[in-house]
């Protein structure tokens, strides 16, 4: 038994889309979340900068007593995990991409055409393809970097014609040319625009990695004997910038249960 919190981080508000999955799968766990809203977005910045920011966040979460470090952020997961593991060799470090790849291999067959949408940094890293190939050589995977989505979502413009135009412009040709039937939301921000995507491409099966990530974390906590006692855990959300827009997105996500919200600059 270990009542220390699970440390989860993201480049901004995106990672909060996975909080409900964690509450469902691990209801007794305490969570300390850090969203780097003051420096978001990550996915269009250089890998060195993303790595440096991710390590700073991991250090902060460890100081808050995290018993496991969870990179909800796909961009960080694709390029910063090794550095974080080196900094904290005594703490399990989990990214979102590996459990999502396992989930894809579970639900897809070689007849499917899988489309991974992610930030440019994630796509350039090839992390999704690598993890999927490790499990199966036969799956058809195509990836596309969507540089405009996160900035538009972080600016609060998710429910606008501009967002729809950006999605259509970025994905239309990609989906048709590759005959994509299964779309992986390879960025924690994309569940926020899932309604827009479903409206524009209603025939797609959509995979949101949140649940696979929460299940993987439960598996690791169980294996290492790190699960919390049988009571309701607390939830503390830190953001490096607590703007009114950020609060609006939290509200829009409909996060269930209690939480405390704090600003903390790194």
């Amino acid at each position: 038994m270990d009542d220390r919190p699970i440390g989860i981080f993201d480049s901004g508000v995106g990672g909060l889309t996975s909080i409900n999955a964690f509450s469902e799968v691990l209801p007794h766990e305490s969570i300390v979340y850090f969203g780097d809203t003051a420096r978001a977005p990550y996915g269009t910045k250089s890998p060195a900068t993303v790595r440096a920011f991710s390590r700073e966040i991991a250090d902060f979460l460890v100081k808050q007593g995290a018993k496991i470090l969870v990179a909800a952020c796909n961009t960080s997961s694709s390029i910063a995990l090794d550095a974080i593991k080196e900094d904290h060799p005594d703490i399990p470090v989990v990214g979102v991409i590996k459990p999502c790849a396992a989930r894809i291999a579970e639900v897809c067959t070689p007849e499917n055409s899988i489309g991974v949408i992610a930030t440019p940094v994630t796509v350039e890293s090839g992390a999704y393809e690598k993890e999927i190939r490790k499990i199966s050589q036969e799956l058809n995977v195509h990836s596309i970097g969507c540089s405009a989505f996160v900035p538009l979502i972080e600016s609060g413009a998710f429910n606008t014609p501009a967002m729809d135009a950006a999605i259509k412009h970025t994905l239309d040709e990609f989906i048709r040319e590759n005959q994509v039937d299964t779309l992986v939301l390879g960025c924690t921000h994309y569940p926020i625009i899932r309604p827009n995507i479903e409206k524009l491409f209603p025939w797609l099966s959509i995979i949101d990695p949140s649940m696979a990530l929460a299940m993987e974390v439960r598996r690791i906590l169980t294996r290492y004997g790190l699960l919390a006692s049988e009571w309701q855990g607390s939830r503390m959300f830190y953001a490096s910038d607590l703007s009114s827009k950020f609060l609006g997105i939290i509200q829009m996500l409909g996060i269930s249960g209690d939480y405390v919200l704090k600003q903390h600059a790194l």
Copy 2:
């Protein structure tokens, strides 16, 4: 005579749009520029965060020997100048909004309908209206916060249908309802999308504050005896994140003459 550099800063690449104006108006001056690309955008973050970041940059530029601090960034100019002046009482501190307001009052009459487009933070500060009202009570000024423009530009999406859709969606009603005939680019990033705006609203007169800012800096340097000697100055551009996208935007801006480019994290 004072051969120390002019210190110019912006939230990201935007301020570089004013570099050619400085080179034209002040050809002998050395420039040290800082673009906070690792933490851009600013205009959708909270005033406290923007103020803290702006002060860090000002400190850095003073350490680089800046003889004057120029906030090319409208967002910083609208809310961070007083804090920077307090930190550096012995150095002139200039923002872009005041000289631009003077320029507007010079070229517009009460018959004009002036539309200021800027980031949400700049618009909420009311800085443009305040500065214009100080000069003239009779001018008709309307402002609108454009949260999606900078994120889209910083993501490299300035030449896409998504950018056009964002501009049309944000400005169409604003321009028609207020019968705007003169549009002020109240953010250093907007000159990058000036072609998009001119294509969509070809009847507008457009005011880019760069030249007014460079002229104001020349006036101050002259007044305080701080002009450089009669030789070609050097130009050093720092960015907190030097991504390939950043280099692409620099190239696209067509900055004339030599410059040195360096990464520096704050």
